[in-house]
Amino acid sequence: MFGYVPLGMAFGILFQDLGYPWYFATLMGLFVFAGAAQFMAIGLLTAQAGLLEVAVSTLALNSRHIFFGLSVLGRYRARGLKKAYLIFGLTDETYSLITSTEPRGQQDEQDYYLTITALNQSYWLVGCTLGAVAGSQADLNTAGMDFAMTALFLVLLIEQWTKIRELFPFAIAMFSGMLGIVLFREQMLLIAIATAIVVLILQWRMSGTRA
C-alpha cells in the first residue's frame, strides 16, 4: 500500500502542470479518491472536457468498482458511517488488499478493513500533496510520467492472472478491447467493457446449460 505515495506524487506533479494551486490535488485525493480516474482527469482537464463527458468517462472507468463491490458484499458487514466509508474507499488497491490478506490475531475484521481503507487514503493524500507541492517548486520534466498509469494497470493485470489462472476472461477482454480500439479509439472504454460483460454473461449461460 506504500505504492500509493509515489503514484500519488506522479499524479500531483502532472496535476500542478495544469496550472492549478497544489491544494486541489489534495482535495481530489480526499473527495474523488480513485487513482486511475484522477490520472484520466488530467487528460480531461487539459482538453477542457464537458461535464457530461467527465461523468460518462468516470462512470465507465470506475464501473469495475461495481464488481469489486459485488464480491465484497458479504464481507462488509459494518453499519452506518463506517460502512459508508468502506464503500467510498473501495479502490483497486483497497480491494486487492482486502481480498488477499487476513486480519492478524484477535482484530475485528470490520476494523481491519477500515484501517486498510483509511491508511490507503492517507498514503494517497500524502502522495498527491507532496507531488503537487514539489512539482510547483522545482522545474521538472514530466514528459512520459503518465506511463505510471499503464504500469499500474499492467501490475494489477498480472495480479489478476496469478489469482484466476483461466484464459477466457482475458481472451474475451482482448477481443472486446481491440474491437473498441478499432471502432472508437479515444472512446473505446465504454464499448469494450459493455462487450466484455455481455460475452461473459453469454459464456455463463452456455456453461450453465452444459452443467
Partner: protein, 110 residues
C-alpha cells in the same frame, strides 16, 4: 465558467460518479449477493476490466509508423518481467515509468 469553478465542478462530478459506482451493488444487489451469475461476474469481470484498461492506456500507439510503439512496448515488457520476477508493485511501476520517461525525453527510439 472560469478555471477554478470548472475544476470544482469536475471534482464534484467525479466524486459523485465514483461514489455511485462503488455504492451501487450495496444499494441494489444486497439480497442477490449469492446469485450464481453475480458470483460468476464478480470473479471474471475484474481480470477482463484490467485487460481492457491496459489496452485503453496503450490505445494511442501507432503500430504503422515509427517508432511502432517501441517505447511503450519496451517499458511494458520491463514492468511485466520485473513484476513476474520480484512481485514488488512499487519497483515494477517505478522502473517501467523511469525507462519510459528516459526514452521519451531523450528520444533514443525516435
Amino acid at each position: 465558467m472560469n478555471g477554478t469553478t470548472y475544476l470544482i465542478a469536475v471534482i464534484g462530478v467525479m466524486t459523485a460518479a465514483t461514489f455511485f459506482t462503488r455504492v451501487l451493488p450495496f444499494a441494489l444487489l444486497r439480497n442477490m449477493a449469492d446469485h450464481p451469475l453475480l458470483l460468476f461476474l464478480g470473479r471474471y469481470t475484474p481480470p477482463a476490466i484490467m485487460t481492457i484498461l491496459v489496452l485503453y492506456s496503450l490505445r494511442g500507439i501507432d503500430l504503422t509508423a515509427a517508432p511502432f510503439g517501441a517505447p511503450e512496448l519496451t517499458a511494458s515488457l520491463i514492468t511485466v518481467t520485473l513484476h513476474l520476477w520480484l512481485r514488488n508493485t512499487l519497483l515494477s511501476i517505478f522502473s517501467g515509468t523511469a525507462f519510459y520517461m528516459f526514452v521519451v525525453q531523450t528520444g533514443v527510439f525516435i
